[in-house]
Symmetry: C2
Subunit: 493 residues, 2 copies
């Protein structure tokens, strides 16, 4: 059926096609069913049906922003609409939910339908649940990785280095520092990051305070040509796009399953053709994994990397408390800049870890001899070269480091949290601190978050501020205070 | 924030609030987050945020039909909108997904948020997955049942009888026949049914071909007063409404988990205050349960019923092939009427099973002595009293049995499926037949489905039609033929 496109400037978080009830009847589709939309000469796209008889004629269709963009539509363009059957991959999702092992073909079909928008969020949630509870074995995880790469674009540069942290430690914004150091030595490091899943901020959220992070493949290549690196959001690049949609659905429940984590990381690295990959696995109480878990995860990385012919090294790091002082996109951007500028009050724990990881990459890639990487990394940082490189990348990404006070302005409201008694800080709970920062509005509100005044081992007086909460509204301050009360993240003895 | 309601006549399958991007920014909410909508003096309701700047001013909000109805809104009414935080129950869903046992309070909180629309379909899908894979023990299932009853209305009549089939057998439309027989004897049988989950039709879908099935509690009571019974859709009644939403999400993946099944059935029975409940558990290859599974399920029913102080009997029936000839709402309505009218070509298997179940209920409720129920049921059927009672109920539900040819018109297109060889029918696969009927458009398209010309043990010639497929479009005929080719539901030897 041919219909005329009407613009409503609609963003629904999923591709939606709104039509008159009689139009839906003629197509024999119902609310929440799927239609295929085709513009002459273009690819087609699948959307979910909504019905609105108040604003549309029978020969019109309103499409959400994603579709308009994807098909390059203009108002009154004519598109062909047909009923789309429930995709075959729904059956395969059901199999995973019933603890069956999936073949590469079935996993590929699920990834294709995710990328294609043929699966609803609820259906993707079923897939996530199946993988989360029933797990995937090494072979399935390898296949998941391959399918994620296959259904996305690839960067198409010769050879590069890359790093990734499995996360779980608030703050811990090592990536911009490592990229700045490594790219100063001539290494190519096209860093693509995801946004926050269960945390208060991801690297992409942090960089977005200073520059754009969403670019086309072509633009990325020109940024890399200029600067040797980039600090961009992987999702907008279209590398392993299935992963980004899965993460969006995982985020609803703060889920992050093993197989999905492994595949997600390695697929992004394969898509940028990384020849040397360093994986940071923070472990400890309240980190994502225990020491034993970290050892097992490292083994899985090695096994899967071998099957995928990737050169992967893992490093197990202390993840028992937040690293750096700021938690939240703007607060973490401030930490990063203070280290790159060698400010007096920069967070030394974050600096030390960044130097260690950068050193390893320099050694892996042959820029430093075994055991000499850290020294080289520190020299580059102290010389100001890393800061210059960071500025270069930020500027290449249409940002700047001017007017930082304005760019890195914190949320309107803040609240200091005093120590309930005098003593020594013996625990700062990662998950609880993240929960407080999220309650305050992170990651959606970049200027919100938590600033830590203390770390493990600090001695405090009664009433001395332990942290400061930043939020945009009184309501969110209250949410954060409630989370704080329930979770009691900082323990003093 | 106060906003003016604009009408778009929008139905999105979920409560949606559409606002201008600047309005969303002021509220500090994003696409897919939640807002609470309050009309002065009314209950409030939670909705999912969509953004559309093309059709709305900053001081306006467009709400989907469900919300307009629930809050009784008129165009230009002013409503108060505030950001709603992620509900607490998301945490409890996460616990079930991670195989923790849930307390009554946590289950109640999930049910409240489902009824309240505070949970998205994807979040409900996570709950369904957790229950499906990790299961619920007897105590949790009892609590789930109680929470479903607690979050809904109750019918408030003194005492009634009820029956339920766990399903899984296509055709098998015994309910209208049993209700007609039982109500003829003066028993009160307020039958509420769900729509199809994994099948081609539910009783509500079938009755809807002849009468309305959605009524208020008050109207239901007046129907019962007139006729002793009713044949309505449980969802519209608001009895255990959480169950209906869960079923809606289960339907996406054709899931139907044990705990959910038990709670779903018993909650509806508690809400209508049933004093005697008969549960039909069809078993066999390609039924929902094996014989062993049926025995275990019957035990669970007894255990849970005891804790809930319900008088439940179970009957295990042969579920290895479809019962009756028609599969699909209209086709099944035709079968039911042919039995009630004692037509020559009525499906005798369906009649026999209906008589058996009705007989048991008559015995349970003291209308017949032990062993005499079936005889009484058959007498009532043959006397025409059951048909009169059925007509009375249909008319009380604003329907009629006049012009049946027009009302029970089948789909525009049909296709006979010939036997590939001569021989004896040795298997008719329930799941495969359902899949074919669903591919043809069931249950959404009532006039679609499958008519079976044969049952197990029939001898057929090569080329003799085994079944006829009905569908509204060539596309759906093709879907059904493809399902048929893949699944080969009828085996001949």
């Amino acid at each position: 059926m041919l219909l005329k496109v009407k613009f409503l400037n609609l963003f629904a978080g999923r591709p939606v096609a709104i039509m008159h009830s009689r139009t839906a009847k003629k197509l024999a589709v119902y609310v929440n069913e799927r239609v295929r939309i085709k513009k002459k000469g273009n690819n087609d796209i699948v959307a979910i049906v909504d019905i609105a008889t108040g604003i549309l004629h029978e020969d019109e269709i309103a499409l959400s922003g994603e579709i308009i963009q994807e098909l390059g539509l203009r108002e009154n363009d004519v598109v062909e609409i047909s009923a789309a059957p429930k995709p075959k991959s729904v059956e395969y999702i059901n199999e995973k939910l019933n603890d069956k092992k999936l073949s590469y073909e079935k996993i590929l079909s699920i990834m294709e339908d995710i990328v294609d928008n043929s699966l609803t969020e609820a259906e993707i949630a079923y897939f996530v649940s199946g993988v989360h509870i029933n797990g995937m074995d090494i072979e399935e995880t390898v296949d998941l990785t391959r399918a994620m790469v296959k259904t996305g674009k690839i960067l198409g540069i010769r050879c590069s280095v890359d790093k990734h942290s499995i996360g779980g430690v608030p703050g811990n914004r090592t990536t911009p520092i490592i990229v700045s150091i490594c790219c100063s030595t001539g290494l190519i490091m096209p860093k693509t990051s995801s946004r926050a899943i269960t945390s208060a901020a991801g690297t992409a959220d942090v960089i977005e305070c200073l520059a754009e992070v969403e670019f086309s493949i072509e633009k990325i290549k020109s940024i890399i040509k200029k600067t040797n690196g980039c600090l961009v959001w992987g999702g907008a690049l279209g590398l392993a796009p299935a992963d980004d949609k899965i993460i969006q659905v995982e985020r609803l429940l703060s889920i992050d399953s093993d197989a999905q984590l492994l595949a997600s990381i390695l697929a992004k690295k394969m898509a940028v053709n990384a020849s040397h990959i360093l994986i940071d696995i923070p472990f400890g109480e309240n980190a994502k994994v225990t020491k034993q878990g970290a050892i097992e995860l490292a083994k899985k990385f090695k096994k899967i990397a071998r099957k995928l012919k990737l050169n992967v090294e893992t490093v197990l790091t202390d993840g028992k408390e937040p690293i750096g002082n700021g938690i939240g996109p703007v607060l973490e951007a401030k930490d990063v800049i203070s280290i790159l500028k060698n400010d007096k009050n920069r967070p030394l724990d974050l600096e030390k870890k960044s130097i260690m990881l950068a050193g390893k990459i320099l050694e892996m890639a042959g820029k430093a001899k075994k055991g000499r990487g850290e020294k080289l990394a520190l020299e580059i940082l102290n010389s100001g070269k890393a800061y210059q490189k960071f500025r270069q990348i930020i500027e290449a990404q249409n940002g700047s480091l001017k007017n930082l006070d304005k760019k890195l302005k914190l949320a309107r409201l803040s609240r200091d949290i005093p120590a309930a008694k005098a003593g020594t800080v013996i625990e700062i709970n990662n998950k609880a601190i993240s929960a407080v920062a999220r309650a305050a509005g992170c990651p959606a509100e970049k200027q919100a978050g938590v600033y830590l005044n203390v770390h493990n081992g600090y001695n405090v007086k009664k009433g001395q501020p332990l942290m400061r909460i930043y939020a945009e509204t009184e309501e969110k301050i209250d949410f954060a205070l409630e989370a704080l009360k329930n979770l009691n993240p900082i323990k003093i003895q």
